[in-house]
């Protein structure tokens, strides 16, 4: 089933198409110079680049949380979107911090998007239970966020994103604050969820290893102003496990990406010192 899904994906229209999208904030900061990028259905696209390269801005633009100052973003469902009065598009966002409501239990936190959409109680309960089971938090449903470890809070955050069965999942350095061991475990878990369901992911990270391990495609960005330098695929079959992390192919990809990011960091436009 996932194989046929994948073939469909290749021919389907992009989930989001950015054409000449630029963002300058009100205070004059040029966060993003004109960018052309297609987010393809079913891909795991990772954005890598130095600080200030506009990765987060790009994610906020894709979510529709920020309006571009120039250019245009076309989402897959623009026509259907208009027809259903905006109920159709399902985009989920996972932030750098778990961003849970401290006063609500894990289950209530995960339910939030369904409650806001007005889903009937029984259906919502079932969806929450399934999302919690998928991230391995079934037993923590009645706990408060502060009773969980950082890694478990992040899992709750991911469950909240998955509970709506999003078409597009945006993740802004979700595991950046976790220790290396927990990060690798969550990377593996995220990847097996993705392998099973093939939702579309745009993932921001600072970690070369994380980018290579997770992605089907990597986009390298440069700063001052933020722009897209290069995108290239990571052609490694799924499922990927710890063996991939230790393989020569992994090292070669990491080497290539590392060189590319180093160039991106060095390659600031002349006016960068003025900003």
């Amino acid at each position: 089933m996932s194989a046929s899904h994948a073939t469909n994906a290749a021919s389907a229209a992009p989930v989001a198409a950015l054409r000449g999208v630029a963002k300058t904030y009100d205070n004059g900061t040029r966060a993003l110079a004109a960018i052309d990028l297609d987010v393809r259905r079913g891909e795991f696209l990772t954005l890598v680049g130095p600080s200030g390269c506009g990765k987060s801005t790009l994610l906020h633009l894709l979510a529709g949380l920020t309006e571009p100052s120039a250019g245009r973003i076309a989402w897959w469902d623009d026509e259907a979107f208009a027809a259903t009065g905006g109920r159709g598009r399902r985009i989920a966002f996972v932030f750098q911090a778990p961003t849970l409501m401290p006063w609500a239990t894990v289950a209530k936190n995960v339910r939030l998007p369904l409650d806001l959409a007005g889903m009937p109680r029984a259906a919502a309960d079932a969806a929450v239970a399934s999302a919690l089971a998928r991230v391995g938090l079934a037993t923590a449903a009645r706990h408060l966020p502060r009773e969980l470890s950082g890694g478990m809070q992040m899992r709750a955050s991911i469950a909240r994103a998955l509970v709506t069965e999003p078409d597009l999942l945006l993740m802004d350095e979700p595991f950046g604050a976790l220790d290396e061991f927990t990060r690798q475990r969550l990377d593996s878990e995220l990847l097996s969820l993705w392998t099973a369901q093939r939702f579309t992911v745009v993932f921001v990270t600072h970690s070369i290893q994380e980018a290579v391990f997770l992605s089907t495609r990597v986009a390298v960005m440069a700063a001052h102003p933020g722009r897209l330098l290069d995108t290239w695929p990571v052609e490694e079959p799924f499922p990927r496990g710890d063996a991939f992390r230790l393989s020569p192919a992994f090292a070669a990809y990491a080497q290539r990406l590392s060189t590319s990011v180093a160039q991106a960091s060095a390659d600031a436009l002349p006016d960068s010192d003025l900003r």
Partner: protein, 265 residues
């Protein structure tokens, strides 16, 4: 560690209690040895005896004062929260009205009280109004601050889910504001009592509606200093109880999740 924790808990009660015993004994000794007349400084024992002897009169007055303070606190909470909710609806409303809330706060109540008492015919209502004027500001300012102090990420999440204004208010802003609100309530509880007492002083209502402030006023004029002290003790006790009650309410509603009320484990 655990022993130290229990030790400090005992100390927290025992130390102030010891101070009270020492002060009271010293006070009693000084008054007895120096034969200070009761119309200057009554001994603690005499104050206790007066408290017992005048209990009907004093407890009735306590009920009057407490009734005014509690009514005022309830009204200040209702109106203050309503104002805060109005303020967060738009920056324009807040910018236009907040200066007047500050004006109300910085004008000493003693200077407004006579006007209020002249304008409002019903004395009890006038006293309540005075206390509300004093108590409302911390509720407005703290609740407004709380309603605005919302996690940016959660706000983005609500926007992404296309939450309505009402959903964002009720499910996100109100719970986020609770710790701030309770901070304001704690301050307002003390201020409501102060407002009630000050207003009584200005109004000077006697008879059935006589509160503790009137008893203090009257006892002062009659040089009945033991009764003055007894009334003072009651007012202070009422203030402490009111404060403790708001702390308890805050702890009950927040202890499960907010840092300010977590017991160290």
């Amino acid at each position: 560690m655990n022993r130290v924790a229990r030790h400090s808990k005992v100390l927290r009660v025992a130390a102030p209690f010891a101070v009270a015993v020492i002060v009271l004994v010293a006070w009693q000794a000084l008054v007895t040895i120096n034969r200070i007349p009761p119309y200057l400084v009554p001994s603690p024992l005499l104050v206790a005896r007066t408290l017992h002897a005048d209990r009907v009169l004093l407890l009735h007055s306590l009920a009057v004062t407490l009734g005014i303070a509690l009514t005022a606190l309830a009204l200040a909470t209702l109106l203050g929260v309503a104002m805060a909710l109005l303020f967060v609806q738009s920056r324009w409303i807040e910018m236009s009205l907040f200066p007047y809330a500050i004006l109300l706060q910085v004008t000493p109540i003693v200077s407004i009280a006579p006007l209020i008492i002249i304008w409002v015919h019903d004395t009890r209502a006038a006293l309540v109004l005075c206390a509300v004027v004093v108590a409302i500001f911390p509720i407005i300012s703290n609740t407004t601050l709380g309603l605005r102090s919302v996690d940016r990420g959660l706000l983005d999440l609500f926007r992404l889910a296309r939450a309505t204004r009402w959903q964002t208010l009720w499910r996100l802003r109100v719970p986020s504001a609770l710790p701030y609100f309770f901070g304001g309530l704690r301050i307002a509880s003390g201020l409501a009592l102060i407002g009630a007492v000050v207003a009584e002083f200005v109004a000077g209502t006697g008879g059935q509606g006589a509160g503790l402030a009137y008893q203090i006023l009257l006892a002062g004029i009659q040089l009945n200093i033991p009764r003055l002290f007894a009334a003072l003790v009651l007012i202070a006790a009422a203030g402490v109880v009111l404060f403790a009650a708001t702390v308890a309410v805050s702890r009950l509603s927040l202890s499960r999740w907010h840092e300010s009320e977590l017991t160290p484990r």
